[in-house]
């Protein structure tokens, strides 16, 4: 199997899930993600609860999913499904995210035609959307906090640590506050961030070699 070769290079908790289990899990994620923010639910289910992916794998998949064509969440499902069990995993994850929610959303459209303009419904929808944005903020602050802590603690590699914090802050301000388009902004920031990670990683591995020798 293809995944066994991958596991050999990078040890991970014992993982055994088939098409059906992945389909059901992603259906559950899709159906519980009211008001958007599907990525938060994926993070909770896959990283926090099951430990099938680590933080770095999830974050990089999230960033890759955003710069490739297609809906971010669907792309993320393709990447994660493929990472876990290959082609059938990607198909199971995407179908799980789409089939159940499609039926619900069409049912909702039918109902909405009948009950449009009912105030309590509108308030519930708006409240749910605001709370979902809050979940996103929580997720961003959590990984942002980790970046800042690690950046400040990186003794001997201060430039890299501070640079990483600057990249994080710049991404948020440019896209979130100044509302610049995502793709060009990421294409400008990514080379800087990748260079930092490349040279920082090389320096770190050289230091490790020095310690060993």
């Amino acid at each position: 199997m293809k995944t066994s070769a991958v596991d050999a290079t990078e040890p991970r908790p014992p993982f055994s899930a088939g098409f059906a289990e992945l389909f059901l899990l992603f259906s559950k994620i899709g159906l519980s993600s009211f008001g958007g923010g599907v990525s938060v639910w994926m993070h909770t289910a896959l990283v926090e609860r099951r430990g099938w992916l680590d933080e770095t794998e999830f974050s990089s998949a999230l960033a890759l999913a955003r710069i490739m064509p297609g809906v971010n969440i669907i792309n993320l499902a393709v990447l994660i499904g493929h990472r876990l069990i290959g082609l059938s995993g990607a198909v199971a994850a995407v179908l799980g995210l789409l089939v159940g929610p499609s039926l619900i959303v069409i049912a909702a459209a039918i109902l909405y035609r009948r009950f449009a303009g009912v105030t309590i419904l509108d308030v519930a929808l708006a409240g749910t959307a605001a709370s979902a944005a809050g979940l996103l903020i929580g997720m961003g602050v959590k990984s942002g906090g980790r970046i800042v802590r690690r950046g400040l603690a990186s003794s001997g590699r201060t430039a890299q640590g501070v640079g990483t914090i600057v990249i994080f802050a710049a991404t948020f301000v440019l896209v979130g506050v100044l509302r610049l388009p995502t793709v060009p902004t990421v294409l400008c920031l990514a080379p800087c961030s990748l260079a930092l990670a490349w040279f920082g990683g090389r320096k770190a591995s050289m230091e490790r070699n020095d310690d060993g020798g």
Partner: protein, 179 residues
């Protein structure tokens, strides 16, 4: 005959949109609105706005707006055709990229790319939250609710997000009632 022509038109409109939607579904919502409302008249402007609100509030990806347009234009078959046209082409591109991506796992530049994208992803997640809160006339109450939910989530990360979502919606409703 009319039906199959509509289905074909849906396919022709949504398949290319799938491949140019770089940055996510919302990147092509404007183009989707133009094709569906102005060019083909599958939905009215009012209907488009309603379908957008429904797709945002219902569970699942917000991009199910595309599926809803297909459903409005040509029923269940339309929903199916649009779903395939809009979600499959981009997924194939991403799948091929993922194959290469995993093959090079473990190499130095692979880890550099993974680490390098971490701060950008974190910034984009926060930016996405702010974009939602800035759009659609969300007032101070929405911002307050969002920050309360975020604080609760950071304080008690082990609670299922569903609980935070329910409490947040209740808080928002309570705030709306007394303000």
């Amino acid at each position: 005959m009319e039906d199959s022509r509509t289905l074909l038109a849906l396919l022709v409109v949504f398949a290319p949109l799938s491949l140019v939607s770089i940055g996510g579904g919302p990147a092509v919502f404007a183009e989707m609105q133009h094709e569906a409302v102005v060019v083909h008249g599958w939905v009215t402007q009012q209907q488009f706005g309603d379908l957008f609100a429904i797709s945002r509030a219902a569970p699942g990806p917000g991009a199910l707006l595309a599926t809803l347009i297909g459903w409005q234009a040509a029923g269940w078959l339309g929903a199916l055709v649009v779903s395939l046209a809009f979600f499959v082409p981009s997924s194939i591109v991403v799948y091929v990229a993922a194959c290469f991506w995993n093959r090079w796992r473990g190499s130095a530049w692979h880890s550099a790319i993974e680490d390098g994208f971490v701060p950008i992803a974190a910034g984009l997640v926060l930016a996405g939250a702010f974009a939602v809160l800035q759009s659609g006339g969300a007032g101070p109450l929405a911002w307050g609710t969002a920050f309360c939910v975020a604080a609760w989530r950071l304080w008690r990360p082990n609670f299922h997000p569903f609980i935070a979502l329910g409490l947040g919606a209740a808080l928002f409703g309570f705030g709306r009632a007394i303000l």
